[in-house]
């Protein structure tokens, strides 16, 4: 038997989390370094997965399969396709930056405060989330996926509620109330989604007799497993609901602004750039493969919801006074694009959506982490408390601008490619929706530039005049992300090459072909 | 005599006991009423045993007596200790069971 690479990739951060948690509180610096090293080692394993993966080979590669609960046909089955590989690489890449950016976020509070904050716990929880996210991307057994999809909520709950942002206009007590509200809201929303999915998972087992994604998909494709139309639709809705909460799709989105606002910036990045991707990823992998007919049936409604997400998220971002809330609403708009790309059912749309997941992760990380550095300097999240930062901290302002430009999908930066692919893919099948979604790019420019103008330009406010510029640690976090944004904007081929074959497979799962151009000869 | 009359008597005794439990405040009286209800049940069991012609009801009646005796021991102990700490045997004075 060959080396279980996928298990190792997910197990390493899990083991790392346990060891990190066991480090005594007095030696918290050691815990930080340990967590960083574990995340880097995981990145090395993820790169190995990337290298070992052959885009033109079998659909699922590096597969592992062991019997687990025989009575219920649950197997421990792992395997990756191109889409999963891309997202595993993204996750493993972002975690070291998140750890490094949050280096001092969980230090014990100044003496006199009675809140207990175990520094090592913060890093252990981040690693635990990484482990669960990775295994969710790898699982090809619905039951295994479900367990980790849900279990992720536990460490996330503690990260939001226990290590939240302390910057609050009404003082520490108000911050604490807000924080627990956000954490509980996050938990309840996702739990409700998860429970509905559990019902659908059980329903699927009753219908299909096992939990194996590959077996069920094959049986459906060959016709040996027949599902009544209504059964398929209900099961689809059960799965989709959970993923739509996680993604999040309008109108199930309101937990995200609260969670991102109250969490520290690195945890906010963890939520939106890593954890939420499991939702959109699962739509591609489970909804489309297991329930192709129901997916097509639901497409119009989902497209309209995602369109609302795009415009609504962007409009609300324009109206925010809080920097992190603004980024959260921008993310809601971007998730609208991703979901739209998935359900446009064209190669361009789905490749674009996968690419979008990767690019959105990087661009939000860049913008949000710099915003976090900014907030930690001034101790306030309110846009109105800033002004003229550009003069005091030009490098910080410059990186913030690049992060913002990536968010508004400036051509030359990575998100442009994916956003355009999604738009083209949608337009090819649904012109009206494609055209309305294009308004999103104007609104994106509006909220980003207004944010930049109000915080960075204009006369220097006295509170920011002595603001220090980015430190070496912070520069180490931001610079690689920016380089990556530019590189993937100019040369996205490495990612598209991995993703394309998987998208082709998904397209054939749903029995869809791309619309043909009206003038054939021009090809 | 028609055994059904015993059943009427059992029902009457049970009702008296239940009413006593509900309306009396003194723990000792409540306790006695509970005993009354138990004995009403015993009477019913024995009557049923006679009506059906088997011994099951009588066996259960013995069980009930044993349980009732055990209950008296525990219950009286609780009442005595309550009285010692609160100087009252009223059940309404001890409302500590709520959340």
């Amino acid at each position: 038997m060959s080396f279980p690479l996928l298990t190792a990739t997910a197990a390493l951060p899990a083991v790392g989390a346990v060891i990190t948690a066991a480090v005594p509180a007095a030696r918290r610096t050691a815990a930080k370094w340990l967590a960083l090293l574990v995340s880097l080692a995981t990145l090395a394993l993820a790169v190995t997965v990337l290298v070992r993966f052959d885009p033109d080979g079998a659909r699922y590669q590096l597969t592992e399969s062991h019997a687990w609960i025989k009575d219920f046909g649950v197997r421990y089955e792992l395997g990756v396709d191109g889409i999963a590989v891309a997202l595993i690489a993204l996750t493993a890449l972002l975690i070291p930056f998140i750890i490094l950016a949050g280096w001092n976020d969980a230090d014990p509070l100044e003496t006199g405060s009675r809140r207990w904050r175990p520094t090592q716990g913060f890093f252990a929880l981040i690693l635990a989330v990484e482990a669960m996210v990775l295994i969710s991307f790898e699982a090809t057994d619905v039951f295994v996926f479900y367990i980790f999809f849900e279990a992720m909520l536990i460490p996330m709950y503690f990260l939001i509620g226990g290590f939240g942002d302390r910057a609050h206009e009404h003082g520490e007590a108000a911050a604490s109330t807000q924080r627990s509200y956000a954490a509980v809201k996050f938990l309840l929303y996702n739990l409700v989604g998860g429970l509905i999915m559990l019902a659908a998972v059980i329903g699927l087992y009753v219908v299909a007799g096992n939990f194996s994604l590959q077996e069920i998909a094959q049986a459906r494709a060959s016709g040996s497993l027949h599902m009544a139309t209504n059964t398929e639709r209900w099961l689809f809705l059960g799965f989709f609901f959970a993923f739509a909460v996680k993604a999040p799709l309008w109108p199930l989105h309101t937990w995200l602004p609260n969670a991102m606002q109250e969490a520290t910036a690195p945890v906010a990045v963890l939520i939106t750039a890593v954890v939420d991707k499991v939702g959109t990823f699962a739509m591609l992998r489970f909804c489309l493969q297991l329930f192709p007919e129901a997916s097509k049936w639901a497409t119009p409604a989902i497209l309209v919801l995602s369109l609302i997400s795009i415009v609504y998220g962007a409009l609300l971002a324009v109206g925010q006074r809080d920097i992190k809330r603004l980024v959260a609403y921008a993310s809601i708009s971007h998730f609208g694009f991703i979901i739209m790309g998935i359900f446009a059912m064209t190669s361009q749309g789905q490749s674009g959506a996968t690419l979008y997941m990767v690019n959105h992760g990087i661009s939000t990380a860049a913008l949000m982490l710099v915003a976090g550095f900014l907030i930690s300097r001034r101790g306030s999240r309110l846009i109105a408390d800033y002004g003229g930062v550009q003069k005091a901290a030009p490098v910080l302002a410059g990186t913030f601008l690049i992060g913002g430009l990536a968010t508004l999908s400036l051509p030359g930066l990575a998100p442009f490619v994916s956003e355009f692919l999604v738009l083209v893919g949608t337009f090819a099948r649904y012109p009206a929706i494609g055209v309305i979604a294009t308004f999103g790019i104007v609104l994106a420019a509006l909220y980003t530039l207004v944010l930049y103008q109000r915080t960075m330009t204009g006369p220097v406010k006295p509170e920011v005049s002595a603001m220090p510029d980015l430190r070496a640690r912070e520069l180490v976090v931001v610079a690689p992300l920016i380089v990556l944004l530019i590189f993937l904007g100019v040369y996205p081929k490495p990612v598209t090459d991995i993703v394309n074959p998987a998208v082709k497979q998904t397209m054939s799962d749903v029995h869809k072909t791309d619309p043909k151009p009206s003038v054939e000869a021009a090809k | 005599m028609n055994p059904v009359n015993y059943l009427y008597l059992a029902a009457l005794l049970f009702t008296i006991g239940a009413t006593g439990v509900l309306i009396r405040r003194n723990a000792i009286v409540v306790f006695m009423c509970i005993e009354l209800m138990l004995n009403a049940c015993n009477l019913a069991f024995v009557t049923f045993s006679r009506m059906h012609g088997n011994l099951d009801g009588q066996i259960i009646a013995f069980f009930t007596m044993v349980v009732a005796a055990a209950e008296v021991v525990v219950g009286l102990a609780i009442i005595v200790s309550l009285f010692r700490t609160r100087h009252s045997a009223s059940v309404d004075d001890a409302s500590l069971m709520k959340l």
Binding site: A428, I441, D514, V519 | -
Partner: protein, 631 residues
């Protein structure tokens, strides 16, 4: 030779990267690095130009495929460059004028502590602009298109500490984004129609697509052009863009970037040729804008804003010509090039005046400057003569041809468009004469400012004078050089195509009428600003003047409808999100909370009430059992 095309873009891109990431240690040499790399790009351009001249007219297209950019099933975007006569013309204009303005900026920005960064942005602009004109497909063009928008944003807002500059920059970017939306929809339409958006497949198969689709593509391209080239209805950003440093106004907002819309329309000529409705829309936009810009230009007292109005108007001419189809394409580009010379020269002259006048921009505080700054006066004067179309100078040749072509469109449209173009020529003569008279003639009107600093007008240093002189020479001779022997026509014709129109009026009549208009315009201006002294405070003016000072109320319209409306919309949406969407969820939570609060009261701790519920429950069970048996 093809590799040089990539170097053409790489040189300024390298400059931008080095200057923007290099840090303070490059502060002392940064501006020369920027200028040198820009000049290098110009030299590469010249080499390529000579190479093209040595080839047959049919073989003057060089294609350089760099790499496959976005390869997705059915969707192929390549990083491929196309150098033909049209892009060559732009390359020379961009790098030539660009290098001159780099040189000028060395002097103009001398005392700015962020000069290195300024040159970094200028280089970034050059790279993006070159990418725009060299791209071989619309998506790559789009990258350059937004790239120049970014550079424009950064440069308009260069003095970020001024809130007005930051606001103007944001406005420019946003209005341009509306236009960009048009471009992206056009690309999507091309993709669904032709399965491709590379120039080759789209333009050579344009005639096979249905006219409806082509009209839609054309109108979307027009929307894009309106945004970038400040045409009505997306013109409002250009006036505010004058907040940027003057060399920026000269390079980006006069000579090069704002003409990108004209490039786009001429490049997509094949699409427009097959979509007459779209063409008509283009000509209407051009004609309206050329009058709109000219009227605004008449009322502004800010020298740069007057010139901005003029730019808008002149680009209106180019768009008008581009909308005329093959009879106008060549002249649109010719006017674009000559305009690049004289308008850049005029802006540099304005910058030189401001440099000597403590950055004063109000022309009512100038007056009589010709003796203080003779070189600026002469170069500005030559640019002035060129723009009003003084016989023999650049503007005369190029503008005259456009007016002629407008009449040649034929029918009622021809008369209306031609008439508008003629009227525009008269107004151009008026407002430019006004600028000239208010700035360089009459009495001196400047006063000490509140700190008691009186401006001491002086001539600018040599690094600033040289570019002005070179551009003045270009403004004088370029038109003649291009027109005599129809050199420019023969050069561009293989790319754009050309057909002679049948004008209802003879060429000489048009020229005569233009001359009359010119004289009338100059005469009125002289009567108003030359004979009488210019008041230092602007008179109230007629209704039209007051409206024109406020950009014909377009900003007020935008403010009321878009800004206010948008604010209300977002504010109410924030409210809806908080109360309605979140309210439903929080309401459900509160409902469960309230219900459990009620249920909790049952647990009152009294043993007897528990007993009641027990008895009640037992009674219910018995009743239910009896009921079931009865049924």
């Amino acid at each position: 030779m093809e590799n040089l095309i990539a170097l053409l873009i790489a040189a300024p891109l390298l400059g931008a990267a080095v200057l923007l990431t290099g840090g303070r240690r490059l502060d002392r040499v940064g501006h020369w690095i920027g200028t040198l790399l820009s000049a290098a790009s110009f030299v590469f351009g010249l080499i390529l130009f000579v190479d093209l001249l040595g080839k047959n007219a049919e073989h003057r297209t060089l294609i350089k495929h760099l790499f496959s950019w976005v390869p997705v099933a059915g969707f192929q975007a390549d990083a491929t460059f196309r150098l033909d006569q049209l892009s060559m013309t732009f390359v020379l204009l961009i790098t030539g004028v660009g290098s001159l303005i780099h040189l000028y900026s060395v002097g103009y920005m001398e005392h700015d502590e962020r000069r290195r960064r300024f040159f970094g942005y200028l280089n970034l602009f050059l790279a993006a602009m070159l990418l725009l004109v060299l791209a071989d497909n619309y998506l790559l063009l789009y990258v350059g298109w937004e790239g120049v928008g970014l550079a424009s944003y950064l440069l308009i807002g260069f003095w970020q500490h001024k809130p007005s500059a930051a606001t103007a920059a944001k406005k420019a970017f946003l209005v341009n984004r509306v236009g960009d939306m048009g471009l992206s929809i056009a690309i999507m339409l091309m993709f669904t129609t032709f399965g491709s958006f590379a120039f080759g497949p789209v333009l050579s198969h344009a005639t096979q697509a249905s006219e409806g689709k082509l009209t839609a593509i054309g109108l979307m391209l027009l929307l894009a052009a309106c945004g970038k080239s400040a045409q009505v209805p997306l013109q409002s950003w250009l006036g505010d863009a004058m907040e940027g440093p003057t060399p920026v106004s000269a390079l980006i907002h006069a000579a090069t970037m704002v003409t990108a819309g004209v490039y786009l329309i001429v490049r997509s000529g094949a699409v427009f040729n097959a979509a007459p409705d779209a063409q008509l829309a283009v000509t209407v936009v051009g004609a309206v804008t050329l009058l709109f810009g000219a009227i605004v230009g008449c009322a502004k007292d800010d020298i740069k804003k007057a010139l901005a109005g003029s730019t808008m108007s002149q680009i209106g001419y180019m768009v008008l010509a581009a909308g005329l189809g093959p009879i106008g394409y060549v002249f649109a580009i010719m006017h674009l090039v000559t305009h690049g010379f004289f308008k850049a020269g005029l802006f540099l002259g304005a910058g030189s005046v401001m440099h000597g006048m403590n950055d004063e921009v109000d022309m009512r505080k100038y007056g009589g400057l010709r003796t203080y700054m003779p070189v600026t006066f002469i170069t500005f004067g030559l640019g002035y003569l060129a723009i009003i179309g003084f016989p023999g100078l650049s503007g005369f040749f190029s503008k005259d041809k456009i007016i002629e072509a407008a009449f040649a469109k034929g029918g009622t449209e021809g008369w209306i468009l031609g008439g508008a173009a003629l009227l525009g020529a008269a107004i151009t003569a008026f407002y430019m004469t006004r600028v000239m008279l208010m700035t360089f003639f009459g009495e001196k009107r400047w006063q000490p400012d509140e700190n008691g600093n009186e401006p001491h007008p002086h001539e600018s240093p040599r690094v600033m004078r040289i570019p002005m002189i070179v551009l003045a020479v270009g403004s004088v001779f370029a038109g003649g050089l291009f027109s005599i022997g129809d050199r420019f026509l023969h050069w561009l014709e293989p790319v754009t195509g050309h057909s002679e129109g049948h004008s209802p009026v003879s060429a000489w009549t048009v020229t005569g009428a233009t001359m009359v208009c010119l004289l009338v315009g100059v005469g009125i201006a002289w009567a108003q600003y030359g004979r009488k002294p210019v008041p230092a405070v602007a008179p109230r003016g007629s209704l039209l003047t007051r409206a024109a000072r406020r950009d014909l109320l377009q900003d007020d319209f935008n403010h009321v409808v878009l800004v206010r409306g948008g604010e209300h919309l977002t504010r109410s949406l924030v409210y809806v999100d908080h109360t309605l969407v979140d309210g439903v969820v929080n309401g459900t939570a509160a409902g469960f909370g309230g219900l459990s609060g009620r249920l909790r009261r049952l647990q009152n701790g009294f043993a007897r009430s528990y007993a009641v519920s027990m008895f009640g429950g037992a009674a219910l069970l018995v009743a239910a059992t009896l009921l079931m048996r009865a049924v």
